[in-house]
Subunit: 306 residues, 2 copies
DNA sequence: AATCTTTGTTGTCTATAAGGCACTAATGGT
DNA sequence: ACCATTAGTGCCTTATAGACAACAAAGATT
């Protein structure tokens, strides 16, 4: 038996004082209400209504049952309403996981703006270069460098993540400026370590990928520390352009233009992706954040960093 | 969609943290829960649970929805429980409507005892000789003098209601003691007035009903007042034996033994009936009162009044 | 790292329950 | 006393939930 339906019928019969009127409201024949209410009474083992062809009024039990049930139905209505408003308005807790470098440099400043736009959203941003599982973890949005979309995750390419080689002018003065990728082998290298391991320098020559890594001076997953070493002239560093950009502009570093381009991956789709759970997880807070991030990151890319 | 069922499923899945475990509790296949919860989510337009094959945990909305829904289900449980316990123990308000005379003389004293037996029952007794509608009025039990059972009302014959003629010894000494019913016409009469009108004295002679009413001294619907007049020797009074009995025993009145018996109705089924709504209206308080009244009235009839 | 087991989901069929409709009975008003 | 409205009931149709099997995926185990 659909108990809730029976309850709604019962309450409406009480309020209209008539099976017929109540039935009209639900657009079902009065017989349905009669049956449902009778079922309800049987299941309770009590008579709720005293019926006559002209008057329908409550028994004593019916009276108290009606009061409580109508209150319960109202609560249920409010609860559903709350869920729907949650679905309609961006609000609640938004969990974002981001790579450390991108997070510090780009994400956090942007999210300050975001907070002002959506004060009802509480931000929980964790920075880590570990692989985000996204499915199991309590994360709404993840930002990762990588290759391609995932299984049941939507991925939006936020910006290019091509690694470019840089060195300080003073290092180049001392060791010479390499022109060909093959020359790198005789240089000194500063290596960024992803969770998967040290990122090698590779280049494609005649369709063949070749490792052109220089001797390692330092390996770290801390981009800032590596940048400082590069600026100090300790070696050549491969880093994403959005990291090196400010230092190149200030003249502290020089971007090397090598003939066969050097890369750190064979996959041309290597970029920074914004990942979020599949479509059905499109709650407003997530949509708001996704739209905001995509718009603002691309804008900043064009204005000051590309 | 059976929303309530879906809610119960959802709550149980949350509490067990597993569709399979919850399904076992309801003794249905897990697929049913999966579908019902999915339906619920669709109808709300929100994802309540984040499922994986190993872990099921709540989304943010799901969390708040669960809290509220589980509280609501609990309330509903309590409400049903209340109705069922109401059915189990005689309690609540018991409304009785009774004829005035019977009420004052017999019912009220008995109901004092009843109150001690069932302290949880609140009594609401109204005395009136008006015809009780019972179906429309808010009455659980009605006690009326009359003839036969009604339509959909159960009637139990409480006691005989035969009217017998009485007079004071001093009246009879002054006016003579009638032997035949036909002699009554030359006497003085005190008449009880039912709502339908003055009750005539009639007698059946050779299958023919004849009016043998005496000249009216007083007519009233107040039995006590008429009794006083009869005791004062103002005339002959027809009253139910259960009314006259104490005065006959005390010698204040004498019951007349007339040859063709005098009556106030042609119908031999004239008696005092206890009426209550048909079987389905068998709440414990009503049952308790009916059983009590039937037992006690009949007992008192045998002991001191018959 | 590969395999295995558990678990949630999906497709298809069946059983059950609610709706629709015509009719009856009874109540309250005219 | 009659009439109209209204609740209840039988019978049929339609919608919805359950059963069973197969599948897919995520963790755990070795």
């Amino acid at each position: 038996m659909d108990q809730l339906r029976a309850l709604r019928y019962f309450v409406k019969v009480v309020e209209t004082g008539s099976f017929t009127k109540a039935a009209a409201i639900f657009s079902v024949p009065p017989s349905s209400l009669s049956r449902r209410v009778a079922d309800l009474e049987n299941s309770l083992g009590a008579t709720l209504l005293k019926r006559s062809t002209r008057v329908v009024n409550l028994t004593e039990v019916g009276e108290s049952y009606y009061k409580q049930v109508s209150a319960i139905l109202e609560q249920l209505e409010h609860t559903d309403e709350a869920v729907r408003s949650y679905q309609a308005n961006p609000m609640g807790l938004l969990r974002i996981s981001s790579m450390v470098g991108f997070g510090e440099r780009i994400l956090l400043p942007l999210m300050d703006e975001f907070s002002e736009l959506y004060p009802q959203i509480t931000l929980d941003i964790s920075l880590s270069d570990e692989l985000s599982t996204l499915s199991r973890d309590q994360v709404d949005i993840a930002i990762r460098g990588g290759y391609a979309p995932d299984e049941r995750v939507y991925a939006i390419k936020l910006m290019d993540n091509r690694f470019v080689p840089v060195a300080s002018p003073d290092y180049l003065a001392r060791n010479g400026t390499p022109i060909s990728a093959l020359e790198l082998k005789s240089h000194r290298g500063l290596y960024f370590k992803a969770p998967a391991g040290r990122m090698p320098w590779i280049t494609e020559i005649n369709g063949q990928w070749q490792d052109v890594s220089a001797a390692a001076v330092s390996i770290s997953n801390n981009g800032r520390w590596l940048m400082d070493k590069a600026i100090a002239g300790q070696g050549i560093l491969m880093m994403p352009r959005w990291v090196t950009q400010p230092f190149v502009l200030s003249g502290e570093l020089v971007e090397l233009a090598l003939d066969p381009e050097v890369s750190i991956t064979e996959n041309p789709n290597f970029a920074i992706y914004l990942l979020y759970q599949k479509l059905r997880y499109q709650v407003p807070k997530v949509k708001a954040a996704v739209d905001f991030l995509v718009a603002r990151v691309r804008a900043s890319e064009h204005s000051g960093m590309d």
